[in-house]
Symmetry: C2
Subunit: 131 residues, 2 copies
């Protein structure tokens, strides 16, 4: 039933939105299993795939984890800054940079379809602390 799928997506998104740091599919599964003990991985992965497809969540490739998309149009490529100390992730938008990346990538005939841009480091708070 389609409605149920949407419902699952909404639940998964809710869990992501409630989190301060990225969650793995199994983190989400663990949370939702409290209410629905029979929930299984494919259900979570399907919901996540749909959410990422819609731009309502991001997959963090370098961590195999997910975050809710916050604060910008859902069809734009986000630059993700990932704090390796506290785990927090921020989204940044820079259309020019994306444009330029597309240009660099396609210089030899390559046709870009999707960008992954993840920057690891320390967030302001953690950088401050370790000084």
């Amino acid at each position: 039933m389609r409605t149920q799928g949407l419902h699952t997506q909404q639940e998964v998104l809710g869990v992501l939105e409630a989190a301060e740091t990225p969650l793995t599919a199994y983190d989400i599964l663990g949370t939702l299993k409290i209410g629905k003990p029979k929930l299984a991985p494919p259900t979570i992965y399907r919901a996540l795939a749909a959410l990422v497809e819609q731009g309502r969540a991001h997959r963090i490739e370098s961590k195999n984890a997910f975050i809710a998309c916050r604060g910008h149009a859902h069809d734009e490529t986000a630059i993700l800054t990932i704090c390796d100390d506290c785990g927090s992730v921020d989204e940044k938008i820079d259309k020019d940079l994306i444009h330029r990346l597309g240009h660099v990538a396609s210089d030899d005939g390559f046709r870009p379809r999707h960008h992954v841009i993840e920057v690891h480091g320390s967030c302001a708070d953690c950088a401050e602390e370790s000084k």
Copy 2:
């Protein structure tokens, strides 16, 4: 023994260099197991970690796979263009873009340490074919 570790790294790098497309750790393990049946995953992962650390190989985060680093200084961040049709990967260098990315990432006090830039799409050959 240190020499032996270096030898493993050299063997792993050799397998990567011989491949036209990214290999997973288990692909490499499968190849090297022919000569050394007792080889285990941690040995491969350790060699890969060292190679990536030295810039002699790249990890492709969005595929959980690895390629040998080809044709540029090993301490530069490469932009990887990944063909989703044939699997081929190319490395591109654009210092300005990296510089700009560092700038964007650090605008709110974030301190970047490592960049992941992967562009998915179709290589020139595959884009041509599917026209």
